[in-house]
Every structure is written in C-alpha cells, then in structure tokens.
Amino acid sequence: MNWTLIRSFWLQRLRSPVRMILLAMVVTFAAGRTAMFPMGWQLGVNDAWTAAAILGFGMISQDVSSGAAQLILVRPVRRVEYLLSRCAAVLLGAMVVLTLQLGIDVAIATARGMAPAASDVLPNALMAISWVVGVTAIIALLTSVARGLGDLGLYAMFLVSLGFFGFAGQVGRLEWAKWIATGLGWIVNVGLSTEDFADAGPAMWKGLLRLAITVVACLALGYAALRRRELTYSS
C-alpha cells in the first residue's frame, strides 16, 4: 500500500467539484429523508453503492487517459501497488462518507426521539461496508481495462444486461436467459444484507465467502489486465 498515492487520490477527489457536489447531495438527501421519516435512518444499499461509485469510477482509467498514470509508473511503484492503493483510497474514502452520513442520520433520529440501538446500527454499517468493498473491487476490475470514465459505461452495460436477461428469462421463460441473469446478479449483488449481519448465521458466512471470492477474483483479473496494459503517452 502506498500512502502517497492514497493521499493524492483523496486530494484529487476533494478538489473535484462534480464529485463533491454529488456526495454532498447524497448526504443531504439522506439527512432530509431521516428528518422526515426518523425510522428510516438506516443506510441503504444505494447509499453504499453511490459513495463507492462517485469516488471510484475513473480511479485508474482517467489517470491512464490523462497521462498521469505513466508519470506515476515511471517511479518505483509497482502496478499491483498502484491498483491496491487506489482501491484502498476509494474504500476508506467511501467509508468516511458513509460514517458521516450514518452519524448525521442517527443524530437526527435521536433528536426526533427515535434513537436507534447500537445493535441495529452495527449490522447496518457492516452491510454498507460489505457493499462498498464489493463495488470497489468490481470498479477496480473495470477501471483496469477502460479509458476515461469507460468503467462507468461498462458497469452500466452490466446492469442493463442483467435487467435485459432477467426480463427475457421471466417473460419468455427462457432458462438460458435466467441462467445468465443469475450469473450476472451473482457478480453485481456483491454485498450482504443488514439481516445477514444481524442474524450472524450461515447466511452471513455464505455471503462473506461469496464477497471474498468476488473481491479476490476482481482484483486478480484487474491486476492481470493492468499488468498487461500498454500505456501510450504521446499526443
């Protein structure tokens, strides 16, 4: 892990007006939602996904397109170190955003006289973390092969394909389409539910195993792609 890369990534994201506005909107929207419905203080899958996505998309692909990656990789920085440092930066950054969001939401709910119990907050936070970890790993794979914000495009294609095959499988009763949709869903739906963590039963361990497999596979494939990737730098 390279802290210079992690710090510079955070600084870059902090100075990106678009990303900061999006994050501020997400946190503000969640706070407004909790203010209106104090029972709904929990983080949702969408919150975790959005935080990871806003920070993560373009984490390497934009560097490659701009030529910044080439200047980094001419230094004594291995490609695996570069990839993992970027992932860690996204992961930690998203967790800070979600902690802030959860903190605000819990504070609002408490102020409205509906303070959640710690036993409710912890599983919800773990759920969000599991999603952030999974989504970050998927983005790491996509950003290793794409240019610019092409990783976002690839992810969108993935989701559209999932919807298409799922719909075709349901409506047309096509087994093969269902099978593809299930496979895609297995990859996209990487996180666990709050209930999984609350129960701490076999479903949680199964989910964690699935998450670990997805993360390891995405990072391994991402590294393999980045390692083989040729970087042009001329105009």
Binding site: L11, Q70, V74, R75, P76, Y233, S235
Partner: protein
C-alpha cells in the same frame, strides 16, 4: 531494433514522424512491450523498482495532475521516488528555484502556460538526481530563456555522469548535447553516429558580406572564382549573404581564407543547417553499432 546505450552518455534519437521514436521510448520506459526481444538496464528489466528509483522522465505530452499546485506536484513525485521526507520541502524549493518557478509554486498546474509546464516537467524529471533520464521533446514550448536554462540543466546532468536519452526534433539541440545519435526510420535504427561525424560531409556555408560590396554580375563572378579556387562552389548570392557548398569543414576554412585573401569584406560565416541535419538529410550513415 538493436542498440546499446552506454552509462553516462547523452544519447539522441532522431527520425521522421512515425519512425518509432516514441514507441522506442515507450519500450525503454516499460510502458509498451516489444513484440520480440528484450530490454535490459544494468542487466535488469526496465520496470525493476531499483531501475525506476534512478529514472527520470519528461513526457512530450504535458498533461500533469492539473488539480495540484506546482509545489504539490513536485512533492508528490518526491514522495513517489521514495526520497526522504525530511528533505522534501528543501528539495522542492530548490527545484522550483532552479527552473525559475519559485513564484509560481503555489499556483494550480491548470493555470500554468505551456512553457511553465515544460519547466515543471523538467523539474519533476530531475527530482532525486536520477542517473537515467528520458527526455521527450524537452525544448518544445520553451521561451529563449527557458531554452538556455534547459541547456544549462542538461550540461549539469552530463557533468554529473547521468545517462540521458533525448528524443527531439531540434537537431541543433541534439547535436549540442548528445554524444551519439540514433537515426530511426520505419521502426529500425538505420545508423548510430557521433554528431562530429558530419564534419566530413559536404555542407552549405552562409557568408555575410559587409555593406558596400558590389552585388552585380562582376561581384558574383569574383565570389564564384574564389570559391572555385578553394574547392567550393557558389550556390547563390543575394545581399547581404552568399551561400557556398563546401566539401567538408576543412573546405569551409579554405574558402573563408580565400575570400579574406581576395579582400571580400566577410563579417560573418555560419553553417546553413547543423551537422546532424546533413547526416539526417541523406548522407551515408555508418552501420548500426
């Protein structure tokens, strides 16, 4: 493509557009993989961290991290080069001062002009006093002051024994700096020459004559006769210059002596194009080494 660059030499790469110069540099830097063969630096792969630690690189395309300030950019590369944090501030200050950007260090890179970016890129390449430096079109976009500064930096690098690989279209710059030059064409090294090799090639000499010289037919005939006597040939003559073709450097000296002897008021003489230009323009380069 087969070539060996010696430690401590300044090595130039020149060739027409599309010759493969940037591809060669990309391979040397480990950004591109050769289709076949291998590249070794001190016997190690190009992406070996110990090689990276002593490498500096100035790219042609100056799209740096535009959201950083110049100071942050240099500090970032100082840290990436794994140089001691204790000396970071002082090293960055020194680098900014050296390249004439001391007052612009707190400015965002996005607001830098092309010349300032070039200077910042040069400072970044020199962070940590690398032993091996790749420079891709380093003088492009520089103002005259910047060119002189850049020249001084290159001479400093040479004096401290750094190996310089210079890819440039400015042949006079390459000639001034490089110990050897590779001529690349269609992905092949056609020849490797020392710039002084051009001394034995025919060249064009531009001679400036003082005001008052008769540029009529008689005056031209006199110039032509003196040229023939010195083994040279008058190409054209129009006030205030006459251009001669001379067989080599010695021929140029003979021509000038002959003109002075004939009381032609010569006030200036300069080669029309550099030696490398002559080598590059189709003279017979030697075999690759």
């Amino acid at each position: 493509m087969s070539l060996a660059i010696r430690a401590g030499e300044a090595f130039g790469i020149i060739g027409p557009n599309g010759a493969g110069k940037t591809t060669l540099l990309g391979c040397l830097l480990g950004f591109l993989r050769p289709d076949a063969g291998r590249i070794r630096i001190d016997g190690k792969p190009v992406d070996d961290p110990s090689i990276r630690a002593v490498t500096g690189f100035l790219p042609e395309r100056l799209i740096f991290d535009r959201w950083m300030t110049g100071r942050e950019f240099l500090s970032f590369h100082h840290a990436l080069a794994r140089l001691p944090a204790a000396t970071r501030r002082a090293d960055v200050d020194t680098a900014l001062l050296r390249i004439g950007l001391a007052d612009a260090g707190r400015k965002r890179v996005a607001k830098y002009s092309r010349g300032m970016l070039q200077r910042l890129g040069m400072a970044q390449a020199l962070i940590g006093a690398p032993r091996l430096i790749y420079l891709d079109e380093p003088a492009s976009g520089l103002d005259p002051e910047g060119v002189l500064l850049f020249r001084g930096l290159l001479l400093e690098l040479k004096q401290r024994g750094a190996t310089i690989v210079l890819n440039s279209h400015h042949l006079d710059e390459v000639e001034r700096v490089c110990d050897r030059v590779a001529f690349v064409r269609v992905g092949k090294v056609e020849a490797i020459e020392t710039p002084s090799a051009g001394a034995s090639l025919a060249r064009v000499l531009r001679v400036r004559v003082a005001a008052g010289w008769a540029w009529d037919a008689g005056g031209r005939d006199r110039l032509s006769a003196r040229a023939t006597a010195a083994g040279a040939r008058l190409l054209d003559a129009a006030p205030p210059d006459a251009r001669f073709e001379v067989p080599d450097d010695a021929g140029a000296a003979r021509l000038l002596a002959e003109l002075v002897r004939a009381e032609v008021p010569v006030i200036e003489a300069s080669p029309d194009g550099s030696r490398l230009e002559r080598l590059f323009a189709g003279a017979k380069p030697g075999a690759p080494q």
